[in-house]
Symmetry: C3
């Protein structure tokens, strides 16, 4: 896996006057910009038993979900965020779509913008598409990256930052551990970027040696291959999803082997601070990177991450739609 340069993404996601018009990467966003997005998201957060926030910020606007890589969970989160802002929403399953007819992706986007779509939410298993197409869409259109290969998942980074801020607002004095397959994780990259920009005290990363990222990434993070050392006295523990094929790559025999070496277990959690919170981007492999006790325990904020996810997507949709329309 080679390093993917996000310099292009940073550049193309702004208008000439510097406004955020697309959201492709969190790289290059200022602390003020991220804070403003989190503040707006917080405004949209409701308690679980309450009705969700809703307004008409996007009334008359159209949001199109283009998922080249399927993800029901993420698609529904974006779909509800858009609906609750009063937008029209259409879903395009790009795996069975006109790509079979040989149409280029850009022509699909041109078609959608000609139908007055304002925000194109894109998810792809390959890197590069959002930044490649952003310069070509019409000026009223925003590209919103909903997950791009191992590279970027900006709304996930924001929702993780928001969740941590709700529990541990004093970022300067926080220590967070991200554990698992960091090399292939768009979540880890975007979350690390958000926390770094917000001035987090300390980031530690831990995982099998073969699955740690290249040395030039996650600068300043402290690297561990022994989670029992890495987890000492941290305030936040975030487990990443591990895939079977990656375990083989890291010479780990099976699920229980991974759990033994890197899983979040109740015993291990005792090494972190007593009030540490536990996070996971989901979907979880229960019994692999996290045990049931921890996933469903008092320290878990995993469901809260999901709630924050819709709120963050509402905030981002409202913000970039304004940016594209020059407001």
């Amino acid at each position: 896996m080679t390093h993917f340069d996000t310099a292009l993404s940073q550049h193309v996601q702004r208008t000439d006057t510097g406004r955020l018009r697309h959201l492709i990467t969190l790289d290059g966003l200022t602390r003020n910009e991220i804070t403003a997005l989190l503040d707006l998201a917080q405004f949209y957060v409701r308690k679980p038993h309450e009705l969700p926030a809703r307004d008409q910020s996007l009334a008359g606007h159209t949001v199109a979900n283009l998922f080249f890589e399927p993800s029901t969970r993420t698609r529904v989160s974006f779909e509800l965020a858009a609906q609750r802002l009063g937008a029209y929403v259409v879903n395009l399953d790009m795996q069975t779509s006109s790509r079979v007819k040989g149409e280029t992706v850009l022509d699909t986007l041109y078609t959608l913008q000609a139908m007055h779509a304002d925000v194109l939410v894109m998810r792809d298993a390959e890197p590069g598409l959002p930044a490649q197409v952003a310069p070509f869409v019409a000026s009223h259109v925003s590209i919103l990256n909903a997950g791009e290969a191992h590279v970027s998942h900006p709304t996930q980074g924001l929702l993780d930052a928001l969740t941590i801020r709700q529990h541990k607002p004093d970022f300067n004095n926080l220590s967070i551990l991200i554990v698992g397959d960091l090399m292939h994780s768009r979540v880890a990259r975007s979350t690390w970027r958000a926390l770094n920009t917000l001035g987090i005290g300390e980031v530690r990363i831990a995982g099998p040696e073969h699955l740690l990222p290249p040395a030039h990434e996650f600068k300043g993070a402290i690297r561990h291959t022994d989670i029992n050392k890495a987890i000492q006295d941290v305030d936040v523990v975030m487990a990443l999803r591990i895939q079977k094929e990656r375990m083989q790559q890291a010479h780990i025999p099976d699920d229980s082997g991974y759990c033994r070496e890197f899983g979040l277990t109740p015993e291990r959690m005792k090494l972190a601070k007593p009030d540490a919170i536990v996070m996971h981007p989901a979907p979880m492999n229960r019994g692999v990177e996290i045990t049931d006790d921890v996933a469903d325990g008092k320290q878990s904020v995993i469901q809260q991450q999901v709630t924050n996810g819709v709120a963050v997507r509402m905030a981002v949709l409202a913000t970039i739609a304004r940016g594209a329309h020059g407001q």
Copy 2:
């Protein structure tokens, strides 16, 4: 096929104070409760050429359709019912969803409730899921069973009862025949339960001997293997869908063989009361369990069942959403 105990379903679908919060089975519902649901559904019924009833009972609420077993017809019925009550609606095709990523069903439900979904409409080819998950969802969430294996299909039972009531309100003096593969029919079980609770005069069941239900089910119903005897002077005839593999199981050679032995034909209908109505849960196998003449004839109320289906689903959605929110 073993008997599936619905005692658990009855228990878990109520709050501690006895309000109906989920709808998993019609077992255990009182006559008053069923009547109240039918009355509300009747309030939502419109003539076919009129615009459908609509209000804002579920404004701000979110309904998620989770279909583990595909059924376009039923999904659309629930989708329109929810839309016409002003709800946000999302569809999840659970066959291609994150189950492929190994996520547990419960985690999917936790995710949806964290996104402020209020009603989870579930359909599954296996028995047990709704009652298993109901105790675990948050207190603002309702599980609505949209068809569960051979066990339960409560909104179908209600729409059948409503349809009969519209034509034959004097339930005490009614005689109904349900004919076909009762053993595997969730429709027959739920309809029988609804009619029984409402005090129907007489239920007869008829079908190939191998496809009649176990003796302890459909208590009080009169069993027949000769439809020509069973249909004598009944007020209501309901044909069930038969599947090829079930015919083989019952030693019936082919479609026309089934039609000859158990199909609703014009000749057979003459044995019922002259004003008898004909019902079918659809989709129909025309020329198998019912002939075109009967399906499209004057006595058929099959399209009316469909119209009532949307009205019943509106009534149930509104009722259980109130139940979950303690109103």
Copy 3:
């Protein structure tokens, strides 16, 4: 390929009093009727950077998209048109739907109309279905043909006519060339019909000899097999999509061979009038029937066709819904 008679379609798409209730074919529509549809569509056209037109013409109405042949692009166009008129919209993927359960198409339509669907948008790879089912649906229901085999695609014909009218309103003095696989093209047939009824000056058709339509079709059109002659001094050039299997049928070796013989290239465009416009129904095979320079050049109105497509569909939906309800 045999000629498909649209006389039945013309007949069944009107009420007894002659109002347009379904839209199955443009054959038989008067100049006034087509002009009225284009005028209403023009009322719904907005500039690309503006919010789309929207009103509540179909508030309370229900539009169902039934796609027997998949087409994400066309489905989204109809879906947005219906949403922007305030309708409830449901999508049915008929390839994976209850046809697997052996239900007849007509029973599916009966079900949808019983659920108070008002407009059934149908697309099918086979000819005949819309006209076959139209006489059987209830009087409040309209069938809207969204593409039928090689036979008819009426909203495409209208959007092409609207696009031409916006640039070249003096139809009497216009010359248009349609180039490509006309034999299998529903687009060409519907567009030709619309232009003919509106009194276009001259229609030329060009393509490989094996892919020109039978002699009794496109009456009055001038036939060419040499595009370089055909394109001389025309005002409008419309390229059609070509499929690999058709190229073989026409003894054309490959993509570049087709482009050389029939593709719209910058050189060829110089033979048309200097202000000629270029059209394509999309999705395009870039480098085959049209080169990038032409598709994205100043003369191209291809994206404008897409914008007009939504507007035309809004106009047709509003018009036939009124026709079905006797207004």
